[in-house]
Symmetry: C2
C-alpha cells in the first residue's frame, strides 16, 4: 500500500528521480488527511483527495456526523476510512467514554457498519496499540468492514497480537500500516534510503504473513 | 476577524491586487483547518498553521484526545479552538450521545475548560444553529473560554438568539463568524465583490452589535 502520510518525507539526495506514480497504479493510495468539516467544505476536500491527489481512499473523522462524511461517500468507487479507535496514547479520553454501556468507539463502528456503509466503500481506523479493542471492533462489525491498522513500527504495536485480533474469518480484512519505521529506516546520511526502506517494508510484510500462520 | 476559510474563494477579476496581509496585522487570523492527528503529525500541522500561514489560532478536532492537541498548545501565544457542538445538521449523531447523563459535547467543553486551557489559549466552536446548546456550553464553562460561533449567514442561525445564548457576563466572549454570506455576496459577474462583501460584513457586524443591546 502507498500511504500518502501527513508526515514530511525525509530529504532525499538530489540524484533521486521523482516517483513515477503510474508504476504505482495497481497499489491503493490512501490519503491520510483525517478530514472532518461541514458538507460544503467536505465536497471540496473530497474533490481534492480523489481528483487532485488521485487517492483511492481518504481517512475521515466522525465527530461531526454523517453529513460531514456523505460528500466522500458520494464518490462510489472510492474508499472512506473512518477514525474509530486511534493508535495514539490519549485516544481513550473521548473514544472510550461510556455511552449507554458501551464505549464511543463501538458506537462509531456500529454507525459506520449499519448506516454509512450502504455502498460497501467504508473501513475503520483501529490502532494496533489496543489489540483488545481491535478484537472488540472486529466482533462488532463482523466481516463487513476492512480495518486500517496503524500503530506497528514506530508506535510499538505487536504484529502477532494485531493479526490475531483484527483479521476476519478468511484471515484477511486488514490494511496494517507502517509509516515512520519505513520512511526513516535510512542511516544518518540518508544515502541508503532506498535499500533501507525496502528492507523495512519487506520485513514488516513477512512478519505480518508469518503471524497469519 | 479574517477567517482563512477552507472554502475556495470566488474567482476575482485579474485587476484585483493581491491582499496585503500587513494591513491585516491587528486582525486575528483563524485557520479553520479542523486538524486532528497523532502527536508527531500534529507538530508539523502546528508549524504549518502558525509558521507557514502565520495564523493566530487554528481549529482542531477533539476526537483523538489531548495528546493530539498538545502540540498546538505548545505555541503559548497562539489560540487553539476546539470543535465542541458544530453547526452542521448531522452534528448531534456523536456530539449529543449520552455520557453518564450528559451529552458528549458538554464533556468536551468540560475537558477543554478544566484541563486543556491551563495557559488561557483555548476557545470552543459552538454553532449558532443550536442556541440552546450554545447556552448550555456557556453555562458550563462560565466566562473562562471564548466561543467561535459559525452558523449565522448561509447556515441560517439567528443573530439575536445567538448573542443572547453565547455572550459572557461582560456581553462579549464570542467570535461570530460568517463566511459564505460575505464571500459570495457579489453579483453573478463578480464585478461588485468589493462593495458587496463590505456591505454584507458591515450589516452582520451591525446586527450583532444591535443584538448586544
Amino acid at each position: 500500500m502507498c500511504v500518502a502520510s501527513s508526515h514530511r518525507s525525509p530529504t532525499l539526495p538530489p540524484s533521486v528521480p521523482k516517483h513515477n506514480w503510474k508504476r504505482c497504479a495497481p497499489i491503493p493510495i490512501v490519503l491520510d488527511a483525517k478530514r472532518g468539516d461541514i458538507g460544503a467544505t467536505a465536497e471540496q476536500y473530497a474533490r481534492e483527495a480523489f481528483e487532485r491527489y488521485g487517492a483511492h481512499a481518504v481517512t475521515v473523522n466522525p465527530y461531526m456526523g454523517y453529513d460531514s462524511v456523505a460528500p466522500y461517500l458520494a464518490w462510489r468507487e472510492r474508499g472512506v476510512i473512518v477514525l474509530c479507535r486511534t493508535s495514539n496514547p490519549g485516544s481513550a479520553e473521548l473514544q472510550c467514554l461510556d455511552n449507554d454501556g458501551e464505549p464511543l468507539y463501538l458506537r462509531v463502528a456500529e454507525s459506520v457498519a449499519r448506516d454509512w456503509n450502504s455502498h460497501n466503500q467504508c473501513a475503520l481506523v483501529v490502532g494496533a496499540t489496543y489489540p483488545k479493542e481491535l478484537a472488540a471492533v472486529r466482533a462488532r462489525v463482523g466481516d463487513a468492514l476492512p480495518l486500517l491498522v496503524p500503530g506497528i513500527g514506530a508506535q510499538g504495536g505487536d504484529i502477532s497480537a494485531t493479526v490475531a485480533a483484527g483479521r476476519n474469518r478468511a484471515g484477511t480484512g486488514m490494511m496494517i500500516n507502517s509509516s515512520r519505521a519505513i520512511l526513516y529506516a535510512h542511516n544518518e546520511n540518508g544515502d541508503d534510503w532506498r535499500e533501507a526502506a525496502a528492507q523495512a517494508a519487506r520485513a514488516t510484510r513477512d512478519a505480518i504473513n508469518a503471524a497469519r500462520g
